[in-house]
């Protein structure tokens, strides 16, 4: 007889809510007429809200192993889950006028988005090699599709295919590494069992070490750590901007969660082996990312490289293996989510308003005419650079404090050096916003003029509703988007001045991991 494992429905409820949401959104998308963006978006947001609510509810509950140890609901998984859900919720309004979503159908797009969110939640909870692998794929496969969902742009398709190939190489490498770790730890798939299986005896067994190396490489592909980052700028540039935003933020959060959980809990016995290696990777990543971003004119490529550099900062928090390091990592991820969502949203808005796409020209001189957008992008850039008064500063402070406390002061110095280099390109954007004149004559919009949103390049007064030709995607002002941008920006500043709530929030993560490592 099959003995069904005990299922804690309470702790699983966020997952269940998401699955239900996926089904409903898909069905509504199939049944209703095409272009029902309002209903689909509302349902998606409702699903995300339900998941967020249940996650918050679970934050108060004790940590629990779920369904025969496949998953674990603890502080780390919940905090990361909330970051991911928040990122998705910010993406949904951004997709309202998105031509890619328009083309692929809102029901399908939202289904894929929710599927990816589900994968991220599972990934953050995974504590078994098999659920780890499936969750990673559940996260990635919808994203490959979403990247390529703007089918009429060959760049989008290419970006999807590239992402698929690189992502699959990463998955295959990771899988091969998992096989070795499975073999090396004596047939264990649960993270805790792996730690026991490796123990002190096998901590430097070549089989285990090569397994660790392969898993690290696989994850490095996912979170774009140098030298496995080459795909990042290309894919970021080619994908539809809302998807880029989601990818940049949420994938990183979920992948870092499992990175931390797997390395610290399962591979803890070999920490002496992987710590220096990861530290070297982090240092290289910081330098490569920041130097790569220097000459970029495309804002999405710029943020892609900047994301590489930020991954290096975050890796620092991870490799310390301390509670404080994990707290710093999660704090940084949360701050990074707010900052990047605002930045990408501004880029998306300008992409639809001007003919410059994501080129830096698109934001030139917007300080005069679009103060809200200008301030949001400015604050995002300053926050990414880690200037005080923003959550980015506190994030760096937290990371450096953790690094110094973990005897990695030199990595702290690297973070700072990276920040210095990064200032040059972040400030270039800020200078474009405030100190350069708006481009005088906008080139003709590529493609048909029927869908040209208002007069490209010419500012319209705030408050005048955007012209929406029936059905066609419009560059008109969307108050929901502006609201989302301003909310994210305000949060960036607010957490820069009063960071304690966010620090308390991220402290759950460290506790969660500590409880998993503890005697219990």
């Amino acid at each position: 007889m099959i003995e069904t494992p005990a299922i804690d429905y309470g702790a699983l409820s966020p997952i269940i809510a998401l699955v239900a949401g996926i089904c409903v959104v898909l069905l509504v998308g199939l049944i209703g007429p095409r272009g029902r963006r309002g209903l689909s978006s509302a349902l998606t947001l409702a699903t995300l809200a339900a998941a967020a609510g249940l996650l918050v509810w679970q934050l108060g509950e004790p940590d629990a192993d779920l369904v025969a140890g496949a998953l674990r609901s603890d502080g780390l998984s919940i905090t990361i889950g909330l970051i991911v859900v928040a990122a998705a919720a910010l993406v949904v309004p951004l997709q309202l006028r998105d031509p890619a979503a328009e083309e692929a159908g809102f029901g399908e797009t939202h289904t894929l988005l929710l599927g990816s969110v589900l994968g991220m939640l599972l990934l953050a909870e995974a504590q078994n090699l098999i659920s780890f692998f499936v969750a990673l794929e559940l996260l990635s496969i919808p994203l490959y599709v979403l990247c390529g969902s703007h089918r009429s742009r060959s760049r989008s398709l290419e970006s999807g295919l590239k992402y698929l190939i690189v992502g699959s190489i990463g998955s295959a490498t990771l899988l091969y590494g998992s096989a070795f770790i499975y073999g090396g730890s004596g047939g264990a798939t649960d993270f805790t069992a792996i730690a026991q299986g490796i123990g002190a005896d096998l901590a430097d067994d070549p089989l285990v070490l090569i397994g660790i190396a392969l898993v690290a490489v696989g994850l490095a592909f996912k979170v774009s750590i140098a030298p496995f980052h080459q795909w990042t700028p290309d894919v970021y540039e080619g994908a539809p901007t809302p998807i880029t935003a989601f990818m940049a933020v949420a994938t990183k959060a979920a992948a870092f969660a499992v990175f931390a959980r797997f390395f610290i809990t399962a591979l803890g016995p070999s920490a002496d082996q992987w710590q220096p290696a990861l530290a070297a990777l982090a240092a290289v990543t910081i330098v490569v990312g920041n130097v790569g971003a220097l000459g970029q004119d495309s804002l999405k490529r710029l943020l892609g490289y900047s994301g590489v550099a930020q991954a290096g900062y975050m890796l620092t928090g991870l490799l310390l293996g301390t509670v404080k390091g994990i707290d710093a990592l999660v704090f940084y991820l949360a701050a990074y989510m707010l900052i990047n969502m605002a930045a990408f949203a501004v880029i998306a808005v300008r992409e639809r308003e001007t003919a410059y796409g994501d080129d830096i020209t698109a934001v030139q001189g917007i300080g005069k005419d679009r103060p809200a957008l200008a301030w949001s992008l400015t604050i995002s850039m300053l926050a990414l650079a880690g200037l005080p008064g923003t959550a980015g500063f506190i994030g760096k402070l937290f990371l450096i404090e953790a690094a110094v406390a973990g005897n990695y002061t030199w990595l702290g110095v690297f973070i700072v050096v990276g920040s210095m280099i990064s200032l040059v390109y972040y400030l270039r954007v800020v200078a474009a916003i405030w100190m350069r004149p708006a481009p005088r004559l906008a080139p003709a919009m590529a493609g048909a003029s029927t869908e040209a949103a208002g007069e490209p390049g010419l500012p319209r007064r705030t408050g005048e509703p955007g012209r929406t030709p029936s059905g066609a995607p419009s560059g008109g002002r969307c108050w929901l988007v502006l609201g989302a941008i301003l909310a994210a920006t305000a949060a960036t500043v607010a957490f820069g001045i009063v960071p304690s709530p966010l620090i308390d929030f991220s402290a759950h993560a460290g506790e969660g991991l500590a409880s998993m490592l503890g005697p219990g």
């Binding site: 599709v145 089918r151 995607p473």
Partner: protein
């Protein structure tokens, strides 16, 4: 007997793999992969993974490969590069592959792990049978099982999104 079977399978798998990357025409590459997969299924049988071997033949070598064959026939044998080649990539790539192999082999051979050299544990009856695997899937690995089914659903939706014929709106800003 077992050794003969292993070497036959190994040669088939290796030959298939090399053919996949060596043949010019993608269509033949696909067929080579089918050979590879069948040989692997044989090796899986030797490893007492009957159910997996059956799935390999039916699902993988059967269904999935049909998809490949179809697409290869549809798209044709055009080599359409996605990346600009890094100079020296063609020479470097085999070296990287060789280095990878040597490193992995060193790991395998250098491992202090017990009993890698011999057959290993005595395995219980019914090891690898559909019942045993099914029981595990529904008990310990319920979550991965369910997640995998959702993954299939999502992939289906994705395929529809990508491949469905729809009047595509005009290219917006693509050439900017």
């Amino acid at each position: 007997m077992e050794q003969v079977a292993f070497f036959a399978g190994a040669i088939g798998a290796l030959g298939g793999a090399i053919a996949v990357i060596a043949l010019r025409n993608p269509f033949y590459s696909v067929l080579a992969l089918v050979v590879h997969l069948f040989s692997l299924a044989g090796l899986f049988l030797l490893l007492h993974a009957e159910f997996v071997a059956a799935a390999q033949v039916v699902v993988y070598a059967g269904a999935v490969m049909v998809l490949y064959v179809f697409v290869a026939a549809y798209v044709g044998g055009v080599e359409e590069p996605l990346w600009d080649a890094i100079p020296g990539q063609r020479i470097l790539a085999p070296l990287i592959g060789a280095a990878l192999f040597i490193e992995l082999s060193i790991a395998v051979l250098g491992s202090g792990l017990k009993s890698l050299g011999d057959e290993g544990e005595v395995i219980p009856a019914g090891f690898g049978s559909p019942e045993a695997v099914g029981r595990l899937l529904l008990e310990r690995f319920l979550i991965p099982f369910e997640a995998a089914s959702l993954l299939l659903l999502i992939a289906a939706v994705g395929a529809v999104v990508l491949a469905a014929r729809r009047p595509a709106p005009v290219d917006r800003g693509g050439a900017a």
